[in-house]
Every structure is written in C-alpha cells, then in structure tokens.
C-alpha cells in the first residue's frame, strides 16, 4: 500500500467537509449520526481505482483546514497530481477562501490539476439552507480549471465520479509525462557518459 501512483490533495476551509468526502470515497460510507466511526487515519487514504482496466493507486491527502495552519499547507502541494478545492455553497466565506488556495496552488505546483468541489449537495437540494454562492459565478470560475463537481458525501452523489474523472485525467496525462520524462533522462544519460565500475 506504500506505493502511490497519484497524489491528490484536498484543500478547503474548515468545516466544508473535506474529511467526509474522503471517508465517503474510501469507505463508501457516510453516517450522519455518528460521523466518526470505524475509520482510522482519515488524514491519509489510499485507494485503487481502475481506469481502462488498469489499476492506479491513489493517495488522498487531507489537510488541516484551520486558518492558522494555512501558511504551511503549501507543503502538501509538492508533487501533487491533482488538487480538489472544496467549498460550501452555503458559506460564502469558504468560496472566497477558495481563491486564496488556488493562488497558492498555482505558485507552488503549476502542473497540478485543480478541481472545484461544492459539498453538501444534499442540503442544498433539500433547500434546508440558503445557497450563498451563486451558481453562475462558480461556473465561470471553473472554466479555467479541470472540472467542477457538486457532491454530497451523505448520499455519495458525484463522489465516485469526481475521483474517477481525476484519475482518468491523470492516467491520460501520465503517458505523456512518462514520455517526457524518458526523453529527459535519456538526454541526461548522453550528457554524462558514465563508467560503471565493477566492484566484485
């Protein structure tokens, strides 16, 4: 389980439901009444996802959403293949914070794919709470990103789809990356001709 093909980082303000999302995805379970149950170490999760019959091991990194740790969060970005930025449609503040995350992400890891994820869809759908983030703004904003999903960790709606999409994108991308990588290494090899000495 130590091996991971992709690294996906979860970002977002406190209480937007990052951990719930992860738990939902990894364990296919959401328990509203006793949210913390059965799972240990939701901070880091790994799951195998199949794309075109090929298995990919995905490591999902949860981050601390508390504002006082925000400054350090960029450490998590390093080498991330994809980032999911979560926001609560019913909380405008979480949306404004989102921009901050995005900027951070762009400066640290340019190649990282970014996905917007609105959580608590079931609440929004049931009209229990007032939606604060206008849909059109979200839509326009997500144009420049790799995708936008509105998910519900409670019902599991769109959760699978979100991660499947991410892994598919990454898998499609990795072939290209691999080729590039190979080329780079080959060039390096030619650069420095090395004698390998036998030491037997």
């Amino acid at each position: 389980m130590s091996r991971c093909d992709f690294k996906i980082v979860l970002l977002g303000s406190e209480h937007v439901g990052k951990t719930s999302l992860v738990i939902r995805f990894v364990n296919c379970r959401f328990n509203a009444s006793t949210p913390y149950q059965n799972t240990i170490g939701a901070a880091f999760c790994a799951k195998t996802i199949y794309v075109n019959g090929k298995p990919f091991n995905v490591g999902i990194w949860d981050t601390a959403g508390s504002e006082r740790y925000e400054a350090m969060t960029r450490m998590y970005y390093r080498g991330a293949h994809a980032a999911i930025i979560c926001y609560d449609p019913c909380c405008l503040e979480s949306w404004t914070r989102l921009r901050h995350w995005l900027q951070e992400l762009r400066t640290v890891e340019e190649e990282c794919k970014v996905y917007l994820c609105g959580t608590k869809k079931d609440l929004v759908d049931s009209n229990e709470v007032q939606r604060e983030v206008p849909e059109d703004i979200v839509h326009t904003y997500s144009q420049g990103l790799h995708g936008h999903f509105l998910t519900s960790s409670k019902t599991g709606e769109n959760v699978e789809e979100l991660f499947q999409k991410i892994v598919e994108d990454c898998a499609a991308d990795i072939n290209v990356m691999k080729n590039v990588e190979e080329l780079r290494v080959q060039l390096q090899k030619e650069d420095e001709k090395k004698k390998v000495y036998c030491f037997c």
Partner: protein, 731 residues
C-alpha cells in the same frame, strides 16, 4: 576484474607521464593529480577573499566551503597514502628499480583510491538475500552495482556541488535506477511493488553508508542545519508550557491509554535520529503519526492530526530535528516522499516544525501579553504536569518491560525445571531398565562358582623348587616341621599358633605369609591335601578348625607343614629369584641399596651407619626400580651375605623412625657386631610385617611359652633356605 575490461591506454595518466591514472583522480596519476589539486587550491585561495568561510555565509560561499573542507579530508588521506608509499618504497628498495616503481604504483593506487568498505557490499548482499529471496542474482548484482556507483557519485560530487545540487543529483540517480529497472531485461518479471522495494533497498544501503560520513549528506557543510538544530531545540524548550488547550487538540491527560500513546509517539519521534537511511526515518515518523492519530480518536482528520502532532513534537523535542528533516527532504527518494503515506506524515511533521518555528500568540489564540509572559518564563517551570505524566508513563513502561522480562525468565526457569524433571525420570527409568536387563541376563545365565584349579601349577612348582634347593635341607626342615606339628597337634591350638608365628618370624619374605593368609581356605586345604609330606591326619584336621576360628590361625597350620610350599604357591616371583638372585620386591631392593655401602663400611664406626640409615628411611623403594635390579644381581654373590639377611626382613615393613632409633642406639653401644644386629632386626621384623594389633598380641603370648624352645632351631633352618644356602652354613 575491472582492469581486464578497460583499455590499457585508459589506465594511463592523462598527463602522459606513463604512470597509471585513476578515475578517482580525474584520470591523472597520483602525482599529477596532487599537483593539479594544489594548483587548483592555490587558485581558489587567490580568488576567494574568505580564507575560511563560515556556515552562515550565503549561497555563493557554499561551494568553496564544502570544497575546502572536503579537500582537507582528501589531503589527509593523501598524506596518509604518501607515508604508506614511503614505507612501500623502503620495502621494495632492495629490488630492481623498475620493478620497484611498478609495485609502488600498484600499491599507491590501491591506497589512494576511495574505497567503499566491503561491509556495505556484504551487508547489501546479505540483506538482499533476506528480503528478496525470490529475485535473481542479476538483480542483486545490479542493485549493488548501482549502490556502488551511487555512493561514488555522491562522494565525488559532494565537494563540488551545493547541497541542493547534490540532492538533485541524488534524485536523478534514483530516477536512473528506476529507468534501469524499467528497461533492463533482468527486471522484466519484477512487478512494480517489488521495484519500489528495490529502490528503497538501494536507497537504504547507499544512504546508510553516506550518512556515516561526516558532513557529506547529513547536516552537510555549507548549510545551517546544525545551528538550526540548536535553535529549534531551544525554542521547543522555551515552549514547554504550551499545553493541549492552547492547540485545541482533544487530549485527555488523565487517561492512561492517552498517556501511553503519547509516550509511544514520542519514543518513535526520538528514534528518528537513530535511523540512518531517509526511508528509515520516514518510517519512524509514520509510526509516530499512527500513534498520534490513535491519540486523536478515530477517525482523525488532518484537522485533528496536525495539532496533536505539534503537541507531540513539543513534548518530545527530538534531537537534530532540523537536520533530520532536511536530510530526508533532500535525499529521500522524492517520488516516495511526495506520494506515499510516509510522505504524508512526514509533510505533516514538517508543517508541525514550521508551525513551532513561527509560533506566535495569534497562532495559539491567546493574548500577546500572556504569551510574552510565558515566553519570559524559565523553561524549567512550564509544562510540569505533562512532564510528570510522561515520566510516569516512562516509568510504568519500564516496569512493564521488566515485568515481561521477568515473565520470560519465569517461563524459562519453569522450562528448565520441567526438563530437569524429565531428565530425572529418564535416569530413573534407565536405571530400572538396566537393572531389569541385568536380572534377565542373570536369570538366563546363572553364575556357577566352580572350585579353583591350582593343582597343575603347584605340582610343577614343587618339582622345580626341589631341584633348586638342597634336598637335604628341605628334608630336615620337613622333619622338624612335622615334629613340631605333631607336637602342636597334641597341644592346644594356641601353642600351634605360637610355633607358627616363630616360623613366620624366621621366614625371610613376610609377604609370602600375607599372601598365605589371604588365600581362600579351600586352596589351603587342597594344598595340604596334596602335600605328601604331611602324612599325619592330625595336621589336616587342625587347619580346618583353625580356619573356622580366625584368619590368622590358618597361616600357622601350613607353616609347620612346609614353608617352602607356601612360598611356591603364593607367587612366582618368589620362586624365580633363588637361582639368579633376582628380587622383584621393592622392599628388598631398598635393603640392598643401603646395604652395599654399609657393607663396605660395616666395620667402620657406627656414625656413618647412622647416616645411611636415615637415607634409607627416605628412600621410596618404588621409584628406584631401575637402579635396583642391577644391584640385586650383585648382592647374592657379594662377599657379605650374612648381613643381607638381617636387613632384608626388617626394612620393607618397619615403621622407619622407631627402628632407626633403636638401631642407632644399638650401634653406638655395641660397636656393631653382626650378631647383635641380627637380633635386633628380627625382633623388629617379627612385629612389623603383619598388622600389629592382632599379631603382636599373639607374639606376646608365644614369647612366654614356646619361643625359647622352638624359635632358635626353626629360625636357623628357615633363614638360609629361601635365598642362599651359604648363610645357613655359618649359622
């Protein structure tokens, strides 16, 4: 052999000086390389204004610093090799010059080349076999080759590159190996997980070695690591007052399990410094974080993990924290560090450290004044509650460990006891079995005791003796003995005894008598029966009676019959001496040892004799066998036979001191007339030879009644007969 693969011309020095070059010296020979190096250093000194750059200097100086410090190391090594070379020169100076140089260069090359100790290679080999028993030896070899080239590469470049560049290079090495695994035919059948493990394996072993080299990869020169370590340690100490409420983490100080978990996490964090490879360090961090996660309560999100981890780090204050973190970030396989679970927790640790570094009143959600107040407080005051709890935890843990140990010991002793019991049982059963077997065997083959047959031997002996000894003398003896025996037979048994005792006294070798006694009664009887000399029936009856009474009484019965016979039956040794004068007895030899000298000086006044006697006492006859035999042969023919006899009986058995006192006294008084000697000796001999307690009593009784009458004739008769007829004549 590497040299076989490389072209000869490649081995020569780049300067073309016809010596062998070495890739370690950039293709120069040792001499040219040193010159080159010195030139380089001189140029550097001239160019750089900093003679000895400090650690704090900005990036630019890194190169110089690291280089100079490493070159110092290099220089030292070179110097060492130089001295060795000199030693070699001295050694080889005997030979022709050309050969000297060749030898010298080979030796020098070997000395100066940086060699990775064989332990690394060996360790890898062993570990490989342990961890990947299913992989082919090709892979083993490849990984070792790679590790070797990796280490060499790092060492080669550590003096040239900055730490960041070096780290990049190391990362590229990892990638190279991964590429190699993807492309090489050896790795076709290896799945990706194993490849990952192989990379870890190579990283572990090569970095383990490099870690031990001072200032190469771990807190390398040119970095701030060491200073930062100290700063961080002080900072953490200062923040010891920070408790769980400040960090808003849900920890229960009063819960024992909570304390235990925290303690475990802390010990893992402390163990990070002890791990040598980056992978090992990351594994430690991972384990620590697992404990922390458990501490938070399941399932903990990152929101819970981070504060708890910060708290743990604050309480642990791990040594060389910054150095360790930097070491891992620089030289751990980046792929792994960025994606794996270990990577996640390590990142969290980095975050925690950064948080501690930048900790302010705001980040703790507390008033600035209060914060300052806390910070001004001496470190020793704060955090005592947790410290106490943790120390308690440590103590309890230690106790637990000891309990385990004790339990183990108890189990061990129990095991031992069981085994001992088993052994005892085994022994018992074995004993029983053996006894049973023995009984079986006995039952199968009952023991039948048949009378001993000595008849043929006795007969032959008799014939031989009769030839050897004068028949006349024998006859006389027999007659006398017969007479005696008849008399004795008529008289009481006691009288018999006394008479026999006399005979015993007279007899020269007492041992014979002993033997006679020891002999079983049956044999005696037989002897007696066979003896045709003993015609009288009385005698036959007597011995039977005596046997039943006491063992001593047996001997008397025979002695009257025929002393000769007894001798013959007892031992061959006694028979042999008569013609040749050979004496097998040590006792006798002792006598003779003293005697010849004595004899020579016999007429000389007594003092000298005294001395010799003392010597005699010291003599341990047993040891001086070799000397004895020749003398024995002389003695019988020596001119003074008389004196031999008296001495013979006395010495062997006599308790020495008493006798000598007597002896000396007599000598001084009487000026050693030979007769006087004899008397004395006889008296002593009569007592000594047999065990005193019983015999003495007998002799005492006899002395009164029969001694006077029968003693003198028997003694005269018996003395001469055994050894020398000569002696009998004068008497």
């Amino acid at each position: 052999m590497p040299s076989l693969r490389i072209d000869q011309s490649d081995l020569k020095c780049k300067n073309g000086c016809d010596y062998f070059g070495n890739p370690q010296w950039q293709g120069y020979c040792s001499k040219c390389h040193r010159e080159q190096l010195q030139r380089q250093r001189r140029a550097e000194k001239a160019s750089s204004t900093l003679p000895k750059p400090e650690q704090k200097k900005p990036e630019k100086s890194f190169k110089v610093t690291s280089h100079s410090s490493f070159s110092k190391f290099e220089e030292k090594r070179l110097r060492q090799s130089e001295t060795l070379k000199k030693a070699n020169l001295l050694k080889f100076s005997v030979f022709k010059k050309s050969s000297t140089e060749d030898h010298d260069h080979v030796a020098e090359k070997k000395q100066a080349e940086f060699k990775i100790p064989a332990i690394v290679n060996e360790g890898m080999k062993r570990d490989f076999r342990l961890r990947f028993p299913n992989l082919t030896p090709h892979i083993d070899r490849d990984s070792r080759l790679f590790a070797h080239s990796f280490i060499m590469d790092v060492i080669k470049h550590s003096n040239i590159l900055t730490v960041d560049e070096l780290s990049e290079r190391v990362q590229r090495q990892y990638q190279l190996f991964m590429k190699h695994m993807d492309t090489s035919p050896h790795f076709v059948n290896v799945d990706s997980d194993t490849k990952e493990l192989l990379i870890d394996f190579v990283e572990k072993h090569s970095m383990k070695y490099l870690h031990e080299l001072p200032s190469v990869v771990f807190s390398p020169t040119g970095t701030d690591d060491e200073r930062l370590d100290r700063v961080m340690s002080e900072r953490i100490q200062q923040l010891s007052w920070v408790c769980e409420t400040h960090l808003e983490c849900k920890l229960d100080r009063n819960s024992a399990s909570c304390r235990q978990l925290l303690y475990k996490a802390i010990s893992e964090l402390l163990g990070m410094d002890a791990a040598l490879s980056p992978g090992g360090k990351v594994a430690r961090v991972r384990r620590a974080c697992k404990h922390v996660l458990a501490l938070c309560g399941a399932p903990a999100s990152a929101d819970d993990l981070l504060p708890a981890l910060i708290f743990t780090v604050l309480k642990a204050n791990p040594p060389r924290l910054v150095s360790n973190i930097n070491f891992v970030t620089r030289f751990c396989n980046a792929q792994r560090l960025m994606t794996g679970e270990g990577g996640y927790y390590f990142t969290n640790l980095c975050c925690a450290v950064q948080f501690i570094e930048n900790l302010t009143s705001e980040s703790l959600n507390m008033d600035k004044k209060e914060f300052d107040c806390y910070m001004a407080m001496p470190a020793s005051i704060g955090g005592s509650a947790w410290a106490a709890a943790l120390s308690l935890c440590g103590a309890s843990r230690e106790a637990e460990e000891q309990m385990l140990q004790v339990e183990k010991l108890i189990a061990h002793t129990k095991d031992l006891k069981d085994k001992a019991d088993q052994l005892a049982n085994n022994a018992e059963t074995f004993e029983k079995e053996i006894a049973k077997k023995v009984q079986d065997v006995l039952a199968k083959t009952p023991l039948e005791i048949k009378p001993r047959r000595e008849l043929p031997r006795l007969g032959s002996l008799k014939t031989s003796t009769s030839l050897l000894v004068d028949i006349d003398a024998e006859k006389i003896l027999i007659e006398k003995s017969l007479q005696e025996s008849t008399q004795l037979g008529s008289t009481e048994s006691k009288d018999n005894n006394s008479a026999e005792n006399f005979a015993v006294e007279i007899e020269i070798p007492k041992i014979k008598m002993d033997n006679i006694k020891n002999q079983p009664a049956t044999s005696f009887q037989e002897e007696i029966d066979q003896n045709r000399f003993t015609d009288t029936p009385k005698i036959q009856h007597e011995p039977i009676i005596t046997f039943s009474q006491t063992p001593e009484e047996k001997s008397p019965s025979k002695s009257p019959i025929n002393p000769w016979e007894l001798k013959q039956t007892n031992s061959l040794e006694l028979l042999t001496p008569s013609p040749l004068g050979f004496t097998p007895f040590d006792s006798r030899s002792i006598d003779e040892l003293m005697t010849p000298d004595d004899f020579g000086s016999d007429q000389v006044p007594g003092l000298s004799n005294v001395n010799y006697d003392i010597d005699l006492s010291d003599l341990s006859g047993d040891n001086s066998l070799a000397e004895d035999t020749p003398r024995d042969q002389k003695d019988p023919f020596s001119p003074e036979p008389k004196k031999l006899y008296p001495f013979e009986p006395r010495n062997p058995f006599s308790p020495i001191l008493d006798k000598f006192d007597e002896f000396t006294l007599i000598d001084t008084k009487t000026d050693q007339p030979s007769d006087a000697f004899e008397v004395v000796h006889r008296a002593s001999s009569s007592r000594d030879p047999f065990s005193r307690d019983i015999n003495d009593s007998f002799t005492m009784e006899k002395d009164g009644s029969l001694l006077d009458d029968s003693n003198s004739p028997t003694s005269t008769c018996l003395l001469p007969s055994p050894l020398l007829p000569q002696s009998s004549k004068p008497n």
